[in-house]
Symmetry: C2
Subunit: 395 residues, 2 copies
């Protein structure tokens, strides 16, 4: 008998992936220009030229035995120092390379945190709307996900539900700002209030409650939006980062966990994360791209198209009568569906209008739909009439 | 309270790593030419030039959004087909790309198998001498490792102990041929006998017992040595491969699992492996090196130095009075220590002769020591007098 949980996870097709496959099939039938695939969160702008330039330079110049050899499990020390320096410059921190543990993207960074921290029976709090793979990672670590209903007014935090959910089993709280799927960014006042609650509850239960920040969208922030750096607000913060979105490198799988010195027993926490990486079979993050990402730690892809699309969609959807919270970052927007049944709404969008958008139910937030606007602006423009017709079809 | 198992795994320094660090320190004191570091299994020959050439060509030619984008979780279909074709050419198989699941090296491939197959209480059989990280991976999947004592005559299989160890909890058997640390290659008759036992026991317990082949050293085989391809001998075989050693790319973390069609319920087994990859946070194997390794699937580094070193060490150690089984592959040799206490022997080697070799105890095989001869031949030559003096010191 195989492990049935793993069979299930490997067999289940994600709804998003199914929409995407439908889109490809439909495009072959009626022409790609007539299908509006807003299903998938794949960056639509290339990596900045400096990424491939750095890769080629390193391939040409560095001794191949060293370049392609194992790095230490924590990551190449030179790369870690470069990344720490970049964080220090940009966020006024005092990290050294020893605060960083390099991983295969943010997914692996999260898995290291969950597996390193959790004991059986532990709980991690997650706020809706949320990236559904969190549950897979948390349960894979033998822990339990506790979901806090969305604050659908502003996609900040439903503090009453949050405070009520914390108990003696709470090992950590996971936040994702800028958020997939809402695009919302936590304000400084949201963060301060959350930190206060976490301080008080940690004291009450006599154990640290860790704040785990999943930050693949940190660099995709729109004009005037500040994304506070969480370790400044709460000591027991672990930051999970990925270059998947900022450098458009999702397939190269490169990211890290930051364990600041301010974390209680930070050396033991770092050790637990490294032990988890060992148990999960990670060995070390890929050598070439550790160096490439470190050399490009201050760069981003040209993300201006995302802001153009955000502006266009927010304004247009509101004019059509959709209720929508303006995203502060990411390449997602998460309007209310015109009817409460988001699944029926998205099916009508798909089958009647060739608009492929994802029901909020899968993100723990029914009555909404995610539009991934990491597409050329002309495609957004040509879709607007269809979104309008879709809304009108319910009147 | 952190997960203490993970803290332990992250804090524990491996004995091999400690020897390696000692060697670097000692080299700084007395000169690198006076320290003979045979501790670590890092390839000492560069990747073949075609590796970097392919990488640079792909970086120059391929659309960066596609190149650096997510591949499917199973891996890029073109890369998988190229690898399947290479296996078919070389081993007379009939694989398609759908039989392959791309992973971060063999470690991740093994973790996918253990996590995909195992239910709580399941056991995996491992033969001494063995790579100690197997235990970490197996226990990480919630299963138990059952160790079969070594056949120290030939480093084949102690069949009596093997047969006695199989029971209704046996989910799989892990083999590593060519073997780290002994360099031994299982003969066709060993494999046939093992397969017969597995067939009979699978029938007896009414459940398949999977044979998991860890094959990072497959391509490092010496003249006249044939390494049988295990799926030809036993249907329920999963092959875990890595290019770490054959292409000298250990830091790039690229490998795969093969799930042949002949495996019982092969589609469910493949799904379980994919589900495990999802739970472990793998997402997809790195995009650039999937393509680079696929394009170089028929290549190897220039591994002739390993054969030269193997010949020199086997002959010389025997002349000095060491009892040694000649390695058929890898870059390891595993002589008996002159005294039964391999730890004391290796300490004397280290402190009196600056020979850094690893006690067999850590590999589940006391009374032996591993010499990693992935070093320039002149270093082996200059060490011989010291190995001789070390042997004589016990007379």
């Amino acid at each position: 008998m195989l492990n049935q949980r793993m069979v299930g996870l490997g067999t289940q097709r994600s709804g998003i992936r199914e929409l995407f496959e439908y889109g490809k099939k439909k495009a072959a039938e009626i022409g790609a220009e007539n299908v509006f695939d807003f299903s998938i969160g794949n960056p639509s702008v290339p990596a900045p030229p400096s990424v491939n330039e750095t890769a080629i330079r390193i391939l040409n110049e560095m001794d191949p035995i060293q370049l392609h050899g194992y790095t230490s499990a924590q990551g190449d020390p030179v790369a870690r120092k470069m990344i720490a320096d970049s964080l220090n410059r940009r966020f006024g921190m005092n990290f050294t390379g020893d605060n960083l543990y390099m991983t295969y993207g943010a997914a692996a960074a999260l898995c290291c945190c969950f597996n390193g921290l959790a004991n059986p029976g532990d709980e991690f709090i997650v706020f809706a709307p949320y990236f559904p793979e969190y549950q897979v990672f948390i349960e894979g670590a033998g822990a339990k996900m506790k979901l806090i209903p969305a604050d659908t007014e502003a996609f900040q935090i439903n503090f009453e539900a949050f405070e009520a959910a914390i108990n003696e089993h709470t090992k950590g709280v996971l936040v994702n700002s800028p958020n997939n799927p809402s695009g919302a960014v936590y304000s400084e006042s949201t963060i301060r209030k959350m930190a206060e609650i976490l301080e008080a509850k940690s004291a009450e239960y006599g154990e640290p409650i860790y704040l785990i920040a999943d930050e693949p969208y940190r660099e995709i922030a729109f004009e005037g939006v500040d994304i506070p750096y969480l370790p400044k607000f709460y000591n027991n913060t672990l930051v999970c980062y990925s270059w998947s979105k900022s450098l458009s490198l999702p397939g190269e799988r490169m990211g890290y966990v930051v364990v600041p010195d301010e974390v209680d027993d930070h050396e033991l926490v770092y050790a637990a994360i490294a032990g988890a990486g060992r148990t999960l079979g990670y060995v070390c993050a890929p050598g070439l791209f550790q160096r490439v990402c470190a050399a490009n730690a201050d760069e981003t892809s040209d993300i201006s198209v995302y802001e153009t699309n955000r502006n266009l969609l927010t304004k247009s959807l509101r004019e059509m009568g959709y209720s929508v919270v303006e995203p502060g970052g990411t390449f997602y927007i998460f309007p209310q569906t015109i009817i409460p049944d988001d699944i029926a709404f998205c099916k009508r969008a798909q089958f009647d209008y060739n608009l492929l958008i994802v029901p909020g139910t899968g993100f723990g937030c029914p009555g909404h739909a995610r539009i991934s606007f990491c597409v050329p602006t002309e495609r957004v423009e040509r879709s607007l009439d269809l979104f309008d017709k879709l809304a009108k079809s319910y009147r």
